[in-house]
């Protein structure tokens, strides 16, 4: 049993605590949270603020400022100050041009938007990465430890491109991503654990730029999303826009607005909106570069102006309740998330719709980050996994283009993920040797009404008569909600397959380029950083293996197998002492190779346990 003495003498084999954070990357604000002594907490910066404004200022020397400092430059340097970048994430230039942005946009070769700053063109991914970096630094400074993993939240209604872009931003920021988690699901986790709630709950999440509604069932630690819906381009910003339109009409100002005028007006609208959550009317006094208006806005007027937006959220809510196979009477609790749910008209509308007052309790600005921290703590292995499990769904249907510009759905919306689905298609011409596959996301029947995710061609199909070839197209959606698609010809012995991962805007090369850029200022740091990263990884591997061996070595391995693993463990420890990144990496690969058989046996064991864990007396029935 030499193998069980992997740890240094005197060192406990108990699990080491590893720091993992939850990040709420919001349109207006972003937050970072961590679990300390079993309780999730959001972290405050040096001024005591938990909310980091999601605003990034790009200086002419290429430096970035994030947060309050950047926010202050919205009016003084509007062209180089980027707010609400989340609305641009994962979108192509054509989709964005319908919003009015104060900054200048151009298009990359791939059609993704670039923001023109006086330090060059910046992509929304790079800007988002700056926000993530700032939060990561905040966490590392206040905890005094390196962050080893993060759960980043995304709106449940984000499509594949928006999720991929968020993942890319984490990569550019150098943050090890454990999982993308849907915001309402994160909120449900924080709420459910806090209140020990059971039953069916609705999470109504109206943020700065996105709206989500999710219906979940909570039972014995399993958080199962039954349905989700929403609008990834509807949020508090739109309420500000509606009010600004109204003020412009009142002022009868005709000329196009300058960037500065736009930002001043929008900030004024936002603060007026916020005041109307606690008072019945607000005085507006606008005076910026000949755009002048002063007057009183009552709550009633504001509610009228924004009623269509509230109605739009209720429409999605009704659909989600139905998709869950529920009626509003069956919903036990309604949880409000997102700063925009402070608007009284929103609260009243939700209360009327569900016939019950929404739950108050956890701060709607923080609840998402808190839930993400709990999930991060579980995924990194600090919390026993038996306590909690999240089962989420894909928010939008996935399919491929068929004849006539129609979409054939392969994975319908609200399917629990991960999921793998295959469907068979055939050729329509004699001797056809290639087939174009166009992957789409959305609920509509026509290709033009859905989001195009990827196009690829399957070549090398043996020539046959029309309809004889059998092309199997497989869709796989992973636990992050990200899709990969493959296709192969199955009717003959010839199998050609193509695999694509839809990705927008950024190629692997571009991401690498950004990573290099961000390290360019500290070249020496790069080597140290990569050594630290593999050290952390190696320590994680040793520790996981140690726990696994302690639990199962005796039952599953013979002496020879044990010795093989023990030798590889020793080799990795030697490599760690030598502090050479390459040597550590190859020793890790060797150890993984030597312990693969053990891993397989453990996996089989867990499957057997799972099957045995079902209620007794059921298999005999078959």
């Amino acid at each position: 049993m030499a193998l069980l003495q992997i740890s240094e003498p005197g060192q406990s084999v108990e699990h080491l605590y590893r720091t993992a954070v939850g990040i709420d990357l919001g349109t207006t604000h972003s937050l970072v949270a961590v679990v300390v002594d079993g309780t999730p907490k959001t972290l405050a910066n040096h001024t005591g603020s938990h909310l980091l404004p999601s605003v990034v200022h790009v200086g002419s020397d290429g430096t970035f400022e994030v947060g309050v400092e950047a926010q202050q430059k919205l009016t003084s340097d509007p062209l180089n100050t980027i707010a609400s970048v989340k609305r641009l994430l994962g979108k192509n230039i054509a989709e964005i041009q319908q919003y009015s942005t104060p900054f200048e946009l151009s298009s990359s070769k791939g059609g993704s938007p670039l923001i023109r700053t006086n330090s060059g063109d910046k992509s929304p991914v790079e800007i988002s990465a700056q926000i993530l970096k700032q939060l990561n630094t905040l966490a590392e400074n206040s905890l005094g430890e390196k962050v080893e993993g993060a759960v980043i939240t995304v709106p449940a209604y984000f499509d594949d491109a928006q999720r991929q872009a968020t993942k890319d931003a984490a990569k550019v920021a150098g943050i090890p991503l454990l999982r993308l988690l849907n915001e309402p699901t994160a909120a449900a986790v924080a709420y459910g654990l806090d209140q020990a709630a059971e039953g069916v709950i609705a999470v109504y999440d109206l943020g700065g730029g996105t709206f989500d509604i999710s219906i979940l069932s909570l039972e014995k630690g399993v958080f199962q999303v039954l349905s989700t819906g929403g609008d990834s381009a509807l949020g508090g910003d739109d309420f500000d826009q509606a009010l600004s339109q109204w003020i412009l009409e009142q002022s009868a100002y005709e000329a196009p607005l300058s960037a500065q005028q736009t930002n001043v007006l929008l900030q004024l609208c936002r603060s007026s909106k916020e005041q109307l959550s606690s008072q019945t009317e607000v005085n507006i006094d606008l005076d910026i570069e000949s755009l002048k208006w002063s007057g009183t806005l009552t709550r009633q007027q504001f509610d009228q102006l924004t009623a269509p937006l509230v109605k739009q959220t209720l429409r999605a809510t009704r659909k989600a309740v139905r998709d869950a196979g529920m009626s509003t009477e069956q919903i036990q609790d309604v949880v409000l998330v997102g700063g925009s749910t402070r608007m009284l008209a929103v609260r009243e509308a939700v209360e009327q719709f569900f016939g019950q007052a929404p739950k108050q309790g956890i701060d709607p600005d923080r609840v998402v980050a808190l839930g993400a921290a709990i999930q991060a703590d579980t995924l990194i292995g600090n919390r026993s996994g038996d306590e909690m499990l999240l089962l989420d769904v894909n928010p939008l249907s996935l399919g491929i283009e068929i004849m006539g510009g129609m979409v054939e759905k392969i994975v319908p919306r609200n399917t629990t993920i991960p999921i793998s689905r295959a469907q068979e298609f055939t050729t329509y011409k004699d001797g056809q040797t290639a087939m174009a596959i166009h992957v789409l996301q959305g609920e509509r029947e026509l290709v033009n009404d859905c989001r195009s995710l990827a196009r690829f061609e399957l070549r090398g199909i043996p020539p046959m008569t029309a309809g004889a070839a059998k092309i199997q197209v497989s869709f796989k959606v992973d636990a992050d909600g990200l899709l990969s698609v493959s296709a192969r010809e199955t009717s003959t012995s010839v199998e050609s397959s193509v695999e694509v991962k839809p990705s927008y805007g950024l190629s692997e090369n571009e991401i690498t380029g950004m990573l290099q850029d961000s390290f360019a200022h500290a070249e020496a740091d790069k080597v140290a950083r990569s050594l630290r990263e593999v050290e952390v990884e190696a320590a994680g591997l040793l520790e996981t293996l140690e726990v696994a061996l302690k639990a199962d070595a005796e039952a599953l391995l013979d002496a020879t197998e044990l010795q093989k693993i023990a030798d590889a463990v020793d080799a990795l420890k030697q490599a760690l002492k030598a502090q050479d990144a390459k040597q550590i990496t190859s020793a890790m690969e060797f150890l993984n190779h030597q312990s693969a058989g053990f891993a397989q046996k453990r996996m089989d064991h867990s499957i057997r346990d799972a099957l045995a864990g079902r209620e007794l007396g059921e298999i005999e029935n078959n």
């Binding site: 399993v222 793998s420 993984n592 209620e615």
Partner: protein, 177 residues
């Protein structure tokens, strides 16, 4: 070790149309708790891959057995009978009843009490598909080839009613907006 291929076996349930939904759900959760990728975040790539494959299978199996129509279709598939995708139903009675339902759907919007109309139509659709489910059970239990062919016809009819139910939902959405 692989999970059982048969969905009923996977959940430890008898291969029958009538199924205890709460038992299906609790078995589903037990399996997910053991197999889900969240349990394997610190494992090696091979184990992660197996976990995703296992979970995907359990999800697919759960969804297939949960809904009546897909469960019926799966029972037939296990018995070696595939429900053809694009064949039309020739029974005049059934076609006439479908046409009548669709006509009533078109009248909903203009009627005095569209909500009551909708509720009534829903009840009709549920009632008719309920009857067909009973017919399916009868044919399925007898099990000979001719009976199974009748069972296939039942599944095809159920698909028509499922589609109608979805269209009723869309109609309701339009009415509310």
């Amino acid at each position: 070790m692989n999970l059982p291929d048969n969905y009923f076996e996977l959940f430890g349930l008898a291969p029958e149309f009538g199924l205890d939904q709460s038992k299906l759900l609790s078995q589903y959760r037990t399996l997910q708790k053991a197999l889900h990728p969240d349990r394997f975040t610190q494992a090696d790539d091979h184990q992660k891959l197996i976990s995703v494959q296992n979970t995907a299978l359990v999800n697919e199996a759960y969804q297939t057995l949960k809904a009546d129509t897909s469960r019926a279709e799966y029972l037939l598939f296990q018995a070696g009978t595939v429900v053809p995708k694009d064949t039309t139903i020739q029974e005049p009675e059934f076609l006439i009843s479908q046409m009548e339902l669709r006509e009533s759907m078109m009248d909903v919007e203009g009627s005095d009490s569209p909500e009551d109309q909708l509720d009534q139509l829903r009840e009709e659709v549920e009632g008719s598909s309920g009857k067909i489910k009973q017919e399916f059970i009868g044919h399925w239990e007898k099990g000979c080839e001719a009976e199974l062919n009748q069972a296939v016809l039942c599944v095809q009819k159920l698909k028509f009613y499922d589609k109608l139910a979805i269209e009723l939902d869309h109609l309701e959405e339009q009415l509310f907006d």
